[in-house]
């Protein structure tokens, strides 16, 4: 095997070897080479320790409400209003079938409304919480870098 510092494909061999992605035969051949070549050995040591160092940046925990927020966004994006879906578990298959039959029979005249209308949504809005949320948002909005009020 050629020196990785001189070989055009040396970079790939170095990265794959230190990432444990080099096939065993080539890895063995490469190990044979680095035992003889101080320059390559030095490079391998540096890359190995970099690989290890980078591993110390541990992953963060995803927020617990990540899925909830995503499903809420998906529900918003879907044509069907989300509050309609909230009521679906309570609908039996028979009720769905009956509703479908009614819908089919009076299709041109009747538009099937979700069980809970916009009024039900509005009822879930708490005016105090909205005011608090607006205050919190104000507080969290980026401060001007040039604000120079005295302490």
């Amino acid at each position: 095997m050629n020196c990785i510092v001189k070989d055009k494909a040396g970079g790939e061999v170095l990265m794959d070897y230190c990432a444990g992605a080099l096939d065993p035969a080539r890895a063995a051949e490469f190990e044979g080479h680095i035992r003889e070549c101080a320059e390559c050995r030095e490079l391998v040591d540096a890359q190995r320790s970099l690989w290890q160092t980078l591993g110390e940046w541990k992953p963060i925990e995803v927020s617990r409400d990540f899925d909830a927020r995503l499903y809420a966004r998906i529900a918003q994006a879907d044509a069907e209003p989300w509050f309609y879906r909230m009521w679906k578990p309570v609908l039996s298959i028979a009720a769905v079938a009956t509703a479908a039959a009614v819908m089919f029979a009076v299709r041109p005249a009747v538009r099937v409304e979700p069980p809970a209308g916009p009024a039900a949504q509005v009822e879930q809005i708490n005016i105090q919480e909205v005011q608090q949320a607006l205050d919190d948002l104000d507080l969290l909005s980026p401060a001007s870098p040039n604000t120079r009020k005295p302490l």
Partner: protein, 192 residues
Amino acid sequence: MEAMAALERDAQLMLRVREGDEISFALLLERHRGPVVNFLHRMVQNRAVSEELAQEVFLRVYRSRQTYEPTAKFTTWLFRIATHLALNSIRDRKKERSQESLSDELLDGVERQVADQQVSVEQAMVGDVKVQEIRQAIGTLPEKQRAAVLMHKYDGLDYGQIACSLGCSESAVKSLLFRAYETLRARLAHLA
């Protein structure tokens, strides 16, 4: 059925999502939520931004379910979306910051010099200096090099997948990675 069996697990799940099975979507989310959020977090280095971007990634996956074709590995497709969003976000934020600094650089120049000295002393006292240095070293890499290193080191993507995510050739990826690791070896040598 045979063709289905030959497909990778994620692609099978995505095909089920295409057919309306949303439990499969929940399974895909369960498998990839962490890696996507973390890739984005390491790219943009901000939790709120990374989670918003990750939401957008999965929203796009869900929206594309009807047109999904398993032509590439699912992970590659996912990281392609994530990379695209991350690069755009970094560019937007950079633009915003450069506009901000134009307005306040003259005013704050002297104050900042003083503050920088304080910062370096205080930062040295921070518990996790090592991770801070890693974050900083990766954060100062050019964007494409940064994305390539993150996908290679932390997400185990191969050169082909990284190339597909970044929209460049495999040889370009190898060269990006080699240069990035070279820079990182020099910047982080003292931590070894």
